[in-house]
Symmetry: C2
Subunit: 205 residues, 2 copies
DNA sequence: GTCATCATGTAAGCCGTTACATGATTGC
DNA sequence: GCAATCATGTAACGGCTTACATGATGAC
């Protein structure tokens, strides 16, 4: 989904998509190429993205160089250069991807969806990273869903803390830290909700 | 490793190990049984844990009930009850696991190791949850490694923030929030380091 | 007597990591 | 010319999730 989110803003090739997700947006500590390229291949197979430049587009326009008369050995090397031009497994170079209409629909569906929402912080972070792409009302809903999910977590952590009796001081300290971290997260969400609400109101007036 | 950590403190069966990891220690939002039991099986295969009660131990002591004389149909049902007693795939009931010496060595090695340390917060959280099991010096080292790893993250996030120009306000806000969260984490680690140091000093004097 | 919870497992499928392999481009 | 970085992939392996299947125990 992070790939679709990046592509929803701009057509890019895999390597650069990875760079933005990891270095700019800080959504993952790292993404291996062994997961990036298969992921793009899957998205392409699902028709959520398509290749707009590179691979075939990039190779075909090049004309086969006219080399004049050649000895036998030279001719053989030209042969392998032809293979390099047309064999897909041997042609490298940027492949620029674009999100398709279907991919865009899927992406916005995901932004509104509860898929993976409760369990995984990442699921929210990915959505929030692309919050500028959605409508203010959807954004507000996203923040409110996040808030309620954090409230639930707080209750759960407090439960742990209630059963704390048998936990040692380190485990207890960790629980308390995660409690305060969650509260801090809720405060952040609250300021975002407030600024989102005032933005909507301004617009309505 | 979380399983070994729990078992390092007490012999327990799978279901209860899961409960402690998830509900008491809050290390994972959830663990599926499809990952819990295979994980225990792997640990057993590696001889890091062993079964101390249950399965065979639990079944064998029960004597086959003496039923007196029976008609043909009854005899058949007794037959299937025999199968229930001795067929491993049909016998259920608690299997209590204990950590082995080899498992304990492996666990303490893990506590001191950098394995997965930088990338994954979970790797630290798991280690810290069992911090009471290790020596004060090891504990201090653990905290200091964590601190330096968080400092690195802070530098990385600041880098993101430096390249922020092209990021929209939401992505920027997320970056800033994660920055302050990391700083908050560092402060927490600092208080832990300080209290650990004073504890070591007290002991030395 | 039945429902919830406790308790243990298997099988298929998905997907991420690591290691490997290749080639293009840029700067020194 | 050579190194670093840009750029794209494949193959083996491991392990998690989901769905399925079974059985025990205790409360009402």
């Amino acid at each position: 989904m992070a790939i679709l989110g990046v592509l929803a803003g701009q057509d890019l090739h895999g390597y650069e998509i990875k760079r933005r997700i990891v270095d700019d947006l800080n959504l993952f500590a790292s993404i291996s190429f062994g997961s990036m390229y298969p992921a793009l291949a899957r998205l392409e197979k699902l028709a959520f993205v398509e290749v707009t430049q590179g691979r075939f587009n990039r190779v075909q326009p090049k004309s086969i160089p006219f080399t004049g008369s050649l000895g036998g050995e030279k001719a053989a090397s030209i042969d392998s250069s032809l293979i390099n031009r047309f064999d897909t497994t041997r042609t490298r170079g940027k492949k620029v991807y674009a999100i398709t209409e279907s991919g865009r629909i899927h992406f916005f569906y995901f932004m509104n969806d509860d898929f993976n929402f409760g369990e995984d912080d990442l699921a929210f972070r990915v959505r929030f990273a692309f919050a500028s792409l959605i409508e203010p009302e959807m954004r507000l809903k996203l923040l409110e869903r996040r808030r309620s999910c954090l409230e639930n977590r707080l209750l759960k952590v407090r439960d742990s803390n209630g059963r704390e009796s048998r936990l040692d001081s380190y485990a207890k300290s960790a629980i308390e830290h995660s409690q305060s971290e969650t509260q801090n997260d809720i405060s952040w969400i609250d300021t975002l909700i407030q600024s989102e609400r005032s933005r909507i109101n301004e617009h309505t007036i």
